[in-house]
Amino acid sequence: MSNVIIDRAGNKRYLVNITVNGDSYEKIVKGNSLLVNFLRDELDLTGTKRGCELGDCGSCTVLMGGKPINSCLMLAVEADGLEFTTIEGVASTNEIDPIQDMFIEYGAMQCGYCTPGMVLSAKALLTKNPKPTELEVRTAISGNLCRCTGYVNIVKAILAASGQEIPAE
């Protein structure tokens, strides 16, 4: 890798160029920096959360080229040259995305900590599959753990955002 510097302790640091929410950032990072911490600490984008740091809960979900991944399992150096969307990039203006609107309408968030990850998983799903079945919705969010809602209203909100009827209870 080019753009390597040696710091005072003799460790290598790397200049990376990472695009987040359409903005390009050039920062110097340690090899062992994780993308989730880069986003939260370097870029102050704290919407991406740390819940477990081992890829089990999905609260660190970001979109890498439109695909949901766990940013806690990705190195910042691996992100060099790639494009990401975080929750802050879902609504690019003052208008919120229909998914976000439906989340509020259907009470799909309670404590809100899993919500950024959920919204991104939903966004990735509906971008690829605009009219998913309920099973497809549940599969899309199966890597996002929620402790508050039992997923009931989250599934309803995503189906509503896709313009489909919500199955009667």
Partner: protein, 290 residues
């Protein structure tokens, strides 16, 4: 949690990759999707001095049919790429379905088949179905390229026969006589769970006779395991409920499960019986290769 310090390399060629691996020896690890290795490093199980990233190798990201060879899956293909591959869904739906049952959606978008094989966890979901379909892997090192049966790659829990300087470049599912297959994963929840028992089945069925069979178990031995006695029992026999049930019992006897926090050995053994029977049924009824 934090990761130990390491040097990060992004080689431009596979040859350079093998060279770096050879140079660092056991102190280097390959970084593919990272979903296994980063976890191990956070848990203090691994502290490599060098991580060699395969990030540049787009050529390892393809899934294509090569006449004479079969379906070739590049080592850097992600699990979700396997799930959504039209080619695989058509030719070997069982492989797509197996990948779908792995981990979580997010991990499937990042984790790769090469990484999954190299990690060699006994409960991994892809190896059993790939072995049942007689898959081979192409491995490249400083001394050149070689091909081996996937079944021969695993030598123990979390260990493979790959040399220090070798990486997997592709997995090949050869054209074959087997005309139906399936994989059933039994986990304690429907997502984000390791297999308690995994059963992969590939059969050559003609006129209700099982002409050939491969039954591969996951999570019930140190590595994915073939069940020779079960396979021999099935060969040449006419399909019936009793036959499949008996096959299940034989497979249970061949399995070598342990007790751990997920299940007892006794339960696992009985689940081998149940799910072998069910996998055979499912392969026959629903698992036709097109």
């Amino acid at each position: 949690m934090y990761l130990p310090d390491f040097e990060y390399f992004v080689p431009e060629s596979i040859a350079e990759t093998c060279q770096l691996l050879s140079q660092f020896g056991s102190k280097a690890k390959v970084l593919s999707g990272g979903t296994d290795i980063i976890i191990k490093m956070k848990n203090g199980l691994l502290a490599p001095e060098a991580l060699i990233s395969l990030k540049n190798f787009e050529q390892l990201r393809k899934i294509e049919y090569v006449p004479g060879k079969g379906v070739v899956i590049g080592a850097r293909v992600t699990h979700n790429e396997i799930v959504f591959s039209e080619l695989l869904q058509e030719k070997y739906l069982s492989v797509s379905n197996a990948a779908q049952q792995m981990a979580t959606n997010q991990v499937r978008h990042k984790g790769t088949v090469g990484g999954n094989i190299s990690n060699a966890v006994p409960s991994a979901d892809l190896p059993p179905i790939l072995i049942a379909l007689n898959a081979t892997v192409t491995v490249v090192g400083t001394k050149g390229e070689r091909s081996l049966a996937l079944a021969d790659v695993f030598t123990g829990p979390n260990t493979t026969c790959l040399a220090q300087d070798e990486i997997i470049t592709e997995v090949i599912i050869p054209d074959q006589e087997m005309n139906c297959s399936t994989y059933i994963k039994y986990g304690l929840r429907k997502s984000g769970a390791l297999a308690v028992v995994g059963v992969a089945v590939a059969l050559n069925v003609e006129n209700n006779i099982i002409k050939d069979a491969r039954v591969v178990l996951g999570a019930v031995a140190a590595t994915p395991m073939r069940t020779k006695k079960t396979e021999d029992f099935l060969k040449g026999k006419e399909i019936s409920e009793e036959l499949l049930a008996e096959a299940g019992t034989i497979a249970a006897g061949e399995s070598k499960p342990i007790s751990d926090i997920r299940a007892s050995a006794e339960y696992r053994r009985d689940m081998v019986r149940v799910f072998t029977k069910r996998a055979l049924r499912k392969a026959i009824d629903e698992g036709r290769h097109i």
